[in-house]
């Protein structure tokens, strides 16, 4: 048929396109990650990978196991709502190996001012002051016990 002969080159082109398309499908089965699409349009394994990341902070529940006395002291003081690692830093490593990973005690000269240095934007009711005027450079620990910082009536801790 004359018509078909004159369109033959188009069929060749269509064949080329088909080959390209089929190879794309093949590549696709090979390269799409196996867990993709199981729970949504994402790699399901990613959920496991994200969940498996290591923790740096142990969480305040972990401290009571060994440091129950401090926890009890803190629980009745002004710092009751302040969690241990908020001042002592990330301690998961210490929890995993308490003997060999000994955390450094924070420097109260720097630590306390972070919360208690006076700032216009801090809530008025929050205890804040000018540390320079208050202690003239002396470290807070000199007078205040960090776990129960309010001074007892009569003077020092």
């Amino acid at each position: 048929m004359a018509k078909l002969k004159d369109s033959e080159h188009l069929l060749r082109l269509a064949a080329v396109f088909l080959v390209i398309f089929l190879s794309f499908l093949f590549i696709r089965t090979h390269f799409v990650p196996k867990s993709f699409g199981l729970y949504g349009h994402y790699r399901a394994d990613a959920l496991k990978e994200i969940t498996a990341r290591p923790m740096a902070f142990a969480g305040h529940q972990a401290c009571a196991e060994c440091h129950d006395d401090v926890v009890k002291t803190k629980a009745v003081g002004k710092h009751a709502v302040v969690n241990c690692e908020a001042c002592h830093g990330a301690l998961q490593k210490h929890v995993e190996d308490p003997a060999s990973v000994i955390p450094q005690l924070p420097d109260t000269g720097v630590l306390c001012a972070r919360c208690h240095e006076a700032n216009l934007a801090k809530p008025k009711a929050f205890p804040q002051l000018s540390t320079k005027d208050h202690s003239g450079g002396e470290k807070c620990k000199t007078c205040h016990q960090p776990h129960s910082p309010l001074l007892q009536p009569g003077g020092r801790k």
């Binding site: 004359a2 018509k3 002969k5 004159d6 369109s7 033959e8 080159h9 188009l10 060749r12 082109l13 080329v16 396109f17 390209i20 794309f24 590549i27 696709r28 390269f31 799409v32 993709f36 699409g37 349009h41």
Partner: protein
């Protein structure tokens, strides 16, 4: 990085660089050049026929280079295949791979092949050396250039061009949608964005082909077909007017509504974007070319004067459209989403997304075009003096 006022801490560094300015500029040229080619094919504007093949080859050159700025910009370019493997259907960007492939294979390559097949088959027998191999490959094994076959080519080519016009709109329109659909960014978020992008693309594409035609004809020491360039310039003017109207509509709308972003954006326009938007894009890049092209419609200037005006207008238009892409992409990242501050864009010279790379990517399409012209000459090989404008 100097910040004026306040920016969210993660906003200070720009995410999308000059390469992302370049991408819409390049694909815009593709869409615009194709629309010019379709003027002749579909709308039978015979006057522009001398630029038909050149427009198609120009479109192809820019299309082949356009994925490069995107690849170079990606944080992990080795994963770019993922866009083809697992495209996320709600993402306009995911459409890129498929729209690009569709346009490349089912429109441009197909149309060029069909139009050139006659010469390709001839050259497959007449040429020698590596050229012969190239042409023979391009024939796909078929040597049929009978009248019947060529008629089939013509009809299919017509259909391809018909599909090609909305495909060209899609190729560049979706880029506009990528920006226009981001509700987080009031400089971008607008239903007008795809339309503005499209019309400015047409301006740039038409200007580029006109410039290339005049340039190449000069290089070949031939006579420029004035009827052709006069017609192209007319269409350029019409599209330019629509483009200008759309941009002014956006501006007037913003000024009138003056929503919460207005104060911040207005300040940015008066300061950081003043040169690139007010001077380059609007004045030099739109108003001046429109005035020049409009002048020609109402006067009877000599040919050589008209040619100079066309060349100047085309160059200014291209600068203006590039500036428009810059103002959209970079401008959209210079202000804070808190509307309380601004940052600045540091364009470095030699990094992966620096000035040299951008410059190289701008030159590369012309290199590709040069090769394409050698392989698929858009002009008859004998020297022919084309009749002057009637």
């Amino acid at each position: 990085m100097p910040v004026d006022g306040f920016m969210y801490p993660n906003e200070v560094e720009l995410q999308w660089s000059v390469l992302i300015v370049l991408y819409p500029f390049l694909t815009g040229l593709v869409a615009g050049a194709f629309i010019l080619a379709s003027l002749e094919r579909i709308f039978h504007v015979n006057a522009v026929k001398p630029t038909y093949r050149l427009a198609l080859l120009t479109a192809l050159s820019f299309l082949l280079i356009s994925p490069l700025p995107l690849q170079l910009h990606l944080g992990r370019p080795e994963r770019s295949l993922e866009m083809y493997l697992t495209p996320h259907r709600t993402s306009a960007m995911a459409m890129f791979g498929f729209v690009y492939l569709w346009y490349l294979m089912a429109v441009l390559v197909l149309e060029i092949w069909l139009d050139y097949r006659h010469e390709i088959v001839k050259l497959a027998t007449s040429s020698t050396g590596w050229k012969r191999i190239v042409y023979r490959l391009m024939t796909l094994g078929s040597r049929n250039i009978s009248e019947g076959a060529l008629k089939v080519d013509d009809r299919v080519g017509y259909a391809v061009t018909m599909i090609g016009i909305p495909s060209a709109f899609l190729l560049h329109g979706y880029v506009g949608f990528i920006f226009g659909s981001v509700k987080a960014n009031p400089w971008w978020s607008s239903p007008l964005m795809p339309v503005v992008f499209l019309f400015s693309a047409m301006v740039s594409g038409i200007a580029m082909v006109m410039l290339l035609y005049m340039g190449f004809t000069r290089l070949r020491r031939q006579l420029i077909d004035m009827r052709c360039v006069d017609t192209i310039a007319q269409y350029l003017l019409y599209i330019f007017l629509i483009d200008f109207a759309l941009e002014m509509l956006d501006l007037i709308h913003r000024i009138y509504e003056a929503d919460e972003s207005f104060r911040s954006l207005g300040f940015m326009l008066h300061t950081k974007l003043f040169f690139s938007q007010v001077i380059l894009q609007v004045l030099l890049g739109t108003v001046v070319p429109i005035a020049l092209l409009g002048l020609i419609q109402f006067t009877n200037l000599a040919e050589h004067l008209r040619r100079k005006i066309y060349a100047t207008s085309a160059v200014l238009a291209l600068i203006g459209i590039f500036a428009m892409r810059w103002n959209v992409v970079i401008g959209g990242q210079l202000f804070s989403k808190s509307f309380l501050g601004y940052t600045s864009y540091k364009l470095d010279l030699i990094s992966r997304e620096g000035l040299f790379v951008a410059g190289g990517l701008m030159v590369l399409p012309f290199v590709v075009l040069y090769v394409l012209i050698k392989v698929l000459p858009p002009w008859p090989t004998e020297t022919v003096k084309v009749a002057a404008a009637n």
